[in-house]
Amino acid sequence: MSAATLFGLCATALIGLGLYGLIANPHPLRKILAFNVVGSGVFLLLGAIARRGAGAGFGGDPVPQALLITGIVVAFSATALAVALLLRLHDASGSVTLASEVPPTVEPDAGSP
């Protein structure tokens, strides 16, 4: 099996694993982790496709590879934003629950309008 096919199949399993964690894990930080696993799986999938497009003296198709670099940086910024939201929720409410009913211990934040 070529490296591209092997890592391509590995990527599909990573996407599945991450998707499961995104749905089944209740803690938001673990959801962020799972989101990152899905993201890396998608990147690896695109990387495998880039590897298949090797040619003209390049080890892989440079267009998807360049998109991957953009994607990794944007995924980091999305993760940082998600973590900041989560920490703010924790500071404001003392909990990080995503349950729809409001937990009884919510204290309004002094700074909010």
Partner: protein, 313 residues
């Protein structure tokens, strides 16, 4: 031999991902994710994506790990409550079925990919001469698909605005992140004095090498951002208040230069972000030089987080 190494690497990736997803302890999951990012770097090398490996090493190995470790330490007390919210067995089974179906569908499409694979590599090879750069990735990022890179830089600015907007009212305009106490004789202060000069040289080297070899502004900027963060974590300097004028100018300078050159291209070469003949390489270098400090500032401040301490206005 190479096949065995790749198979082992893929299995390890899967095992660490599974651990990150199903592990009970949140910190253990994050530590697993840090290790996972490192193995991913090796996988990128095996897929002939050294540029991508370099990005993954800098972002996945450095910044993402530090971000998540910081978050998991602050959210320690919320883990028990979250465990009580664990979905029912039926929900989890359904989730597993959905995830399994997605995996199977993707695996089938991977195996059914056309052969020979469609590729833009010959087009890149045919046109790279016009850009003057030797690294095809840099040519794609800053010439053939420069619009993507411009929008990405703008997305990063928006992400930082989003993070900052989470500040409580009293802290708006103030300094982000917790106050780090310095121990001037401690080992942390020591490494924060020794490492940054080396890191700045390496970061600039990776940036400069990007014209002809794997490397470039993203990777270089990430290294510079990490060095700045190290100095901040050691307490040798504090994060700047977000109301500082130099900071805000720095955050938009890169994209503004990029847009200005793009508009100049519309006048001089007939299309937004087109480069006049013979000027491609100098313009690419100007854009990269302008983007790098902006990217380093944004990446570091994204990790520091929302303003928490009231600043002098």
């Amino acid at each position: 031999m190479m096949e065995a190494l790749n198979a082992g690497l893929a299995l390890l990736l899967l095992a660490l991902a599974a651990w990150t997803i199903v592990g009970r302890d949140a910190f253990a999951a994050v530590a697993g994710f840090v290790a996972y990012g490192l193995l991913l770097t090796l996988a990128w090398v095996q897929l002939s994506g050294v540029d991508v490996a370099l990005t993954e090493a800098a972002i996945g190995g450095g910044l993402t790990g530090a971000l998540l470790i910081g978050a998991v330490a602050r959210l320690r007390d919320t883990e028990a409550a979250a465990r009580a919210e664990r979905p029912k067995a039926l929900t989890r089974t359904l989730a597993a079925l959905v995830a399994g179906a997605v995996t199977v569908a993707l695996a089938i499409s991977i195996l059914a990919l056309p052969d020979p694979a469609p590729t833009l590599a010959p087009d890149v090879a045919a046109n790279i001469g016009a850009t003057g750069v030797g690294n095809p990735i840099t040519a794609v990022l800053l010439a053939f698909r420069a619009m993507d890179t411009l929008l990405e830089a703008i997305v990063l600015v928006f992400a930082l605005i989003g993070v900052w907007s989470l500040a409580p009212d009293r802290a708006w305009g103030g300094r982000p992140g917790p106050l780090h106490l310095a121990d001037p004789n401690g080992i942390l202060a020591y490494i924060a004095r020794v490492l940054p000069p080396i890191g700045i040289i390496v970061g600039m080297y990776i940036f400069w090498a990007g014209a002809d070899h794997p490397g470039g502004k993203f990777q270089g900027a990430t290294i510079l951002a990490a060095m700045w963060l190290l100095v901040m974590m050691a307490g040798l300097t504090d994060a700047p208040p977000i109301s500082r004028a130099w900071l805000r100018i720095g955050l938009v300078a890169g994209p503004l230069v990029f847009i200005a050159i793009g508009l100049a291209g519309a006048v001089a070469a007939g299309a937004f972000l087109a480069y006049p003949d013979g000027y491609a390489k100098p313009l690419i270098i100007v854009i990269e030089l302008a983007l790098m400090p902006t990217l380093a500032l944004i990446l570091a401040l994204l990790l520091v987080g929302a303003p928490q301490r009231a600043g002098e206005r």
